[in-house]
Amino acid sequence: MTDSLGQQKPVNIKAQLQACRSKEETFKALVTLSKTLPRLSAEEKIEDNKIKGCESAVWLITTETNGVRHFKADSDAKLMRGVLVAILSLVEGKTLTDIQQMDLKTELAELNLASYLTSSRSNGVLAICSQLQRT
């Protein structure tokens, strides 16, 4: 179920989230997913890696090897860690150009995460999406 990085396979994540038929089920699925996200070390959780505009603290580290992007992320909120697992599964291992061409909002909505994409500023998912698409 999980690869060497402790991350679930994207297809599985998608199926799991799409199967949710209520806010409660999505909540529980996100809590389950959150457990698969490897935590960052204290040295990685520095201000520079922090994403502005989230009410919970979110750290994102991007690396690029051979033109494709790899991501590590963490949050102090469990639900947000679940959301991060879902988002990263969409972009992990892709090129920046590919990522920039994705409509992340729509893809997340298809994962039943639309309510995490409200324009409410307290929720930083939109900030994470735009950070992911930044050069």
Binding site: T118, S119, R121
Partner: protein
């Protein structure tokens, strides 16, 4: 084929009432317009289904309220063709919008700098600049437009390299004149001045395109464009909004606060302290939707038709002085020598005709015209030709009654 306002009347139930046993003839639209049912319904729906404080909570009501609130920003941005919704700042009205700019630019002004306005301004686009001039030692200068709003070549000398701010109304509320905005804004921009357009009297009538206008700031009120009271808009270009010092501070507009320092939030929030007028915002978006669903050009042509009809009927009467342009106004502002406008007003009122007599918050313009005030009949899209004629008929009766034998 002329526009027929009768299809709109049922949307405005307030208009079908009797006023002292006469049918109400509401011609005070430049003061405030009536609201279509869709605006009232939007407010009701909001309070009956979605009411919550915006941005702050994370629960079903606050999500819905926040979404509708930010969608409304989008609606208004489209309505005036603003490039981004973060360029739309909610205010109480045009007055607050202008004050926000006058306060926010204070830190950039030096003694001897010039603030230029026109002689046709409403007090809302005059007193804030005058007070700013008092506070900073800047000089308030006044471009002397005629009541026809003509541009004269010598006006260009009013724009100098000290002109830091140029603020002008798009349409005069007192006499209905359209100002020569295009050429004025060009001159102002050549001097690198910040430019503000007071659109309070324009939005209800003209499709607004802030990108074509290319001003730094555009201010207007909801209640004059079929929306609720207590809500208005300051549009600004990004860099222009960014330089404004926040006029109001408190919750919502901050990122982090300690007792020693405050980090302000990003636009539009840094200029929106406190709980906003959520119902007002939602009502204003409904008013934009109402207008956008109409054939704007047909409405405007109709409003012009009404005003021109009144002009042409009254113009023939020797003893009526009209201050409004003959063409392309949506109101008629007039006086009658030797008869007090308040007397005319009172008789019109007794016949159910609601107009406004006074100085229209434009004392300097009244001084320029040499009158204490005028009587103003101002039109909206729901007014009928019968109402325009009734105004003329009753006014002529009043003149008869009040003339000294």
């Amino acid at each position: 084929m002329a526009f027929d306002p009768s299809s709109l009347r049922p949307l405005f139930p307030i208009l079908s009432q009797q006023a002292y046993d006469h049918p109400l003839t509401y011609l005070d639209n430049a003061a405030t317009t009536q609201k279509p049912l869709s605006v009232l319904d939007a407010i009701q729906h909001y309070y009956r289904h979605d009411n919550a404080n915006v941005h702050r909570g994370a629960h079903c009501l606050s999500d819905r309220a926040t979404n509708r609130f930010e969608q409304a920003r989008n609606t208004v941005a489209h309505f005036i063709n603003a490039p981004e919704q973060s360029h739309i700042i909610w205010t109480k009205g045009a007055t607050e919008a202008i004050n926000m700019v006058a306060f926010g630019l204070e830190h950039l002004l030096e003694e001897g700098d010039e603030i230029l306005i026109t002689s046709l301004e409403h007090h809302a686009n005059l007193v804030p600049w005058q007070q700013l001039a008092f506070r900073t030692g800047a000089r308030l200068r006044v471009l002397p437009l005629t009541s026809k709003g003509d541009w004269a070549p010598e006006f260009s000398r009013y724009f100098t390299d000290r002109t830091r701010i140029f603020a002008a109304t798009q349409i005069s509320n007192a006499i209905g004149t359209t100002t020569p905005l295009k050429i004025m804004l060009e001159h102002a921009k050549q001097q690198g001045a910040f430019t503000l357009v007071d659109g309070a009297q324009a939005v209800a009538h003209y499709p607004i395109d802030v990108r074509t206008l290319d001003c730094d700031f555009y201010a207007f009120s909801g209640h004059k464009m079929y929306g609720p009271t207590g809500i208005g808009v300051l549009y600004g270009k990004n860099h222009a909004l960014e330089v404004l010092m926040p006029y109001q501070t408190g919750g919502e507009m901050v990122r982090h606060v300690s007792h020693h320092a405050t980090e302000f939030n990003v636009l539009p929030y840094r200029l929106e302290a406190g709980t906003p007028n959520i119902e007002g915002v939602i009502g204003l978006a409904a008013a934009c939707d109402f207008l956008s669903a109409q054939d704007r050009n047909a409405l405007l042509a109709w409003e012009h038709t009404l005003a021109e009809h009144v002009y042409s009927r009254l113009h023939k009467e020797g003893d009526i002085e009209i201050y409004s342009p003959e063409k392309c106004a949506t109101l008629v502002s007039l006086s009658v020598p030797n008869i007090h406008i308040l007397d005319l007003n009172a008789y019109l009122d007794s016949q159910g005709v609601a107009v406004r007599a006074g100085s229209h918050c434009a004392h300097p313009l009244m001084a320029q015209l040499g009158v204490a005030g005028t009587l103003r009949a101002s039109f909206a899209c729901y007014n009928t030709m019968e109402e325009a004629n009734r105004f003329c008929d009753v006014l002529l009766e009043a003149i008869d009654l009040l003339s000294d034998e």
